[in-house]
Symmetry: C2
Subunit: 467 residues, 2 copies
């Protein structure tokens, strides 16, 4: 037989959800002490949980209880048993959703005490970002962070349901995969079984999603973590989240329709209606008219949401650093058929079936119709200056896959962190990522990256070089 | 202005969805050639897409088209324009959902050709697992794999919607985190910015989900990839997917109710009704009665689904190898209050607030009520033989977090791959993971882990030791 559980209070409602219709009800609340005012014969406690604040009052008539209530400190975890009362007119707080009621305590338990927090939990935050990252669990208690993380959840769920209803399957791709250093630097993971060999964390599931098209899944998506070991700018993180989409037997119009519908559904979450289809500009038009490929079409209306597609990006750009052509998008992007004749002689004039989605001057996504022809893919690697040996080593498995019945396909990847940032009205993706890293890729909360034991390195067949 | 897209056919329906009610309709289909029978003046093609097969017939009256249809090879990607016809009685195929109709082709395009596949795409598979992993994109074309991956998608979506409707927020936790080697071996990720220091890939988001409770999110879940660098047994993978759940201000009853409702909803996906609540056994009862802590309660009814909770696991077990007590669950598991008196003198008799969920003799999940008291958590580390210095180094940040108003909390983690495996009626999780690795952690498709360039290691301040 199981041991008996200690009898315990059960929550009846969240603090932040109490309204006039609860008046007269007996409630049990759990939460954190947000404010504490001891008026001598009366104690007021603002109790906070994920849904908001409510005022609790402990009356002088409650002798022992009042004593207990005086002991309470900020950020203590407490339980309250009490009755919901209507506040009288002059004590109502219209700035609080629960401001028309208060809870008259009949019992109170202190469930856990607290050291004095290193900063006050208040919006806007007053502590430095450094301190907030170190004590992220306290920073995340701020109502605006609770709201942002909830919005992030709702946005992901909304996207998942929208895409599923549109016939897409969410399919997981590996995190321990192959290093194919094109573009950004890979994070490597040493193999213990095969010493001296490495997995890489994916910069995106690009090849896997194309392979899923070759597998016949037809419509794939994934909300997925991606990794880039770059020197970080303000709006970048070493790990970030992407809405990754791929479809077979389609043209770019199909991608545009889908994403427009999806963004409209997402914006409804914050009560914003947008009109579709979105306007389009070719890369050339955008550069000529706005001098950028990420035009902000708000023109002063700061609170609106202005999307635009930018299409027909150049297939290549010239890298001075490397002295060779590099892909503007990635090496799997299809050129426009009508520009194929320029590929050998004027490659920089070749336009690609590539497109970006721009929202309020921020690039929130990019994609393309892919190459599904083996010979064209080989030509592309060749134009990028990759030797046949390099191609074989890095992309051999993919070229092999291109031999076995590849459907025409294309897709897009959207920056999920940026989308949530814009929805939340924040200026930085760090405000919508639960546990962000600093610009030098440190996690101040856990102290990672950290030292590891000598034995761990030894197991991997590695040693540190002299500094 | 955008360049004009080449006019192209648009799919009207999936092959596998054609039924009698489509008779007379003009359709455009895309897919792979599953069978090809050339009868001279008549060609039959079984066209396959994600939803199934349909028979296409090319009649002798279609001169040029018949010639084209003769060129088609197995696994070619083709497009068909045609009319849906009712098959006459004697040519109906009752074993095929589309078997009452066929499509009479009016036009046909070969969109891509194919090398001869290394194995036939057929259920059950006839190739070795090794070959199937190398050509996973071909193996995934098997109808049973298409079904399994679709079921995996539906299961994840179902769980996400169930938990969201129950007030849970899906919150992403970091993949680049801190190495805390307790239990299995971590996968390490070298830092380039801080040479000689390492991130670790999470074995589970255990500490982060507890920190999210400290942050006040109250109800968290995540369907999340986890990593363990272990010598693999048949039913293990180096990366696997977990349904991770945590709640505040609850008892184990709340976890049980939630998970029972969730599993009932998941089993409805395959048309199975189960009765809740699930039976319970204490660890002691289970060992006494069945000689195992993973009892199979089907007793011969092989096709049924029999769940049981196993509760009150011992808090510790004795590790001969290490000559010390180790946690049976993990070091954050709360002991039963009534057994606390035994902690110093008879620790092996202390029972924990830990529970496993067992389905048909397979452990599909495990969890516990956690320790939310700093002093008890320190005592626990002490009993596990960790020095104060070790504790500080590995878990210092977490002990610090335990100082700042921790709610009572608990949770569970469920093995998502195993759940889908059981739903799909498969014997191995490799049949429900899109891109599995071998038991020596190789990806035969991409060839990872692979060699990396010397420069990449140099950037990380690492070199290989002599073999």
């Amino acid at each position: 037989m199981e041991a008996k559980e200690s009898s315990s209070w059960r929550r009846t409602t969240y603090c932040g959800q109490l309204r006039l219709n609860h008046v007269g009800e007996e409630v049990v609340l759990f939460g954190w002490v947000h404010r504490h005012r001891d008026l001598g014969n009366l104690v007021f406690i603002d109790l906070r949980d994920r849904e908001g604040l409510v005022q609790v009052v402990v009356l002088s008539s409650r002798g022992e209880l009042l004593k207990e209530a005086k002991k309470v400190r900020l950020e203590n975890v407490i339980a309250i048993e009490g009755v919901v009362k209507r506040r009288d007119e002059k004590s109502r707080n219209p700035s609080l959703p629960t401001g028309e009621v208060e809870v008259e305590a009949k019992d109170l338990k202190i469930l856990n005490t607290t050291k004095v927090p290193p900063f006050v939990i208040v919006d806007p935050p007053q502590a430095s970002e450094e301190l907030r990252f170190k004590y992220r669990y306290l920073d995340l208690r701020r109502p605006s962070m609770q709201r942002n993380i909830k919005l992030r959840h709702q946005t992901a769920l909304n996207i998942r349901n929208f895409l599923s209803e549109s016939g897409f399957l969410e399919i997981e791709t590996p995190f321990l995969t192959k290093s194919t250093p094109e573009g950004a630097r890979d994070y490597l993971v040493p193999s213990r079984v095969y010493k001296g060999r490495f997995y890489a964390l994916p910069q995106s599931p690009q090849l896997f999603k194309q392979i899923l098209m070759i597998s016949g899944f037809d419509r794939y998506f994934q909300i997925v973590r991606c990794f880039r070991d770059e020197d970080l700018r303000a709006d970048r993180q070493p790990e970030f989240t992407q809405v990754d989409i791929e479809m077979s037997f389609i043209e770019k119009e199909d991608i545009f329709n889908l994403v427009e519908g999806m963004m409209a559904a997402v914006l409804e979450l914050i009560g914003v209606k947008i009109s579709i289809p979105f306007p389009r500009l070719t890369y050339e038009e955008s550069m000529e008219k706005y001098g950028t490929d990420k035009p902000d079409l708000r023109f002063g209306e700061e609170k609106s949401f202005r999307f635009t597609w930018v299409t027909e990006f150049p297939l290549f750009e010239w890298s001075k650093e490397e002295g060779r052509l590099v892909s503007m998008h990635h090496p799997f992007t299809s050129p426009l058929e009508e520009d194929l004749v320029l590929l050998e002689k004027e490659p920089l004039r070749v336009r690609a079936k590539a497109y970006d989605l721009v929202l309020n001057g921020i690039e929130i996504g990019g994609g393309s119709i892919r190459i599904h022809n083996l010979e064209l893919q080989k030509r592309m690697f060749n134009k990028l200056g990759l030797s046949q040996k390099e191609v074989e080593k890095k992309f051999g498995f993919f070229l092999e896959a291109l031999c076995y019945g590849v459907p025409p396909h294309g897709g897009i990847a959207l920056g999920f962190d940026r989308i949530v940032m814009i929805l939340a009205g924040e200026e930085s993706i760090r405000e919508v990522i639960p546990f962000p890293k600093t610009t030098s890729a440190l996690c101040l909360l856990t102290g990672s990256p950290g030292e590891v034991e000598a034995k761990q390195l030894e197991d991997l067949g590695l040693k540190k070089t002299k500094a």
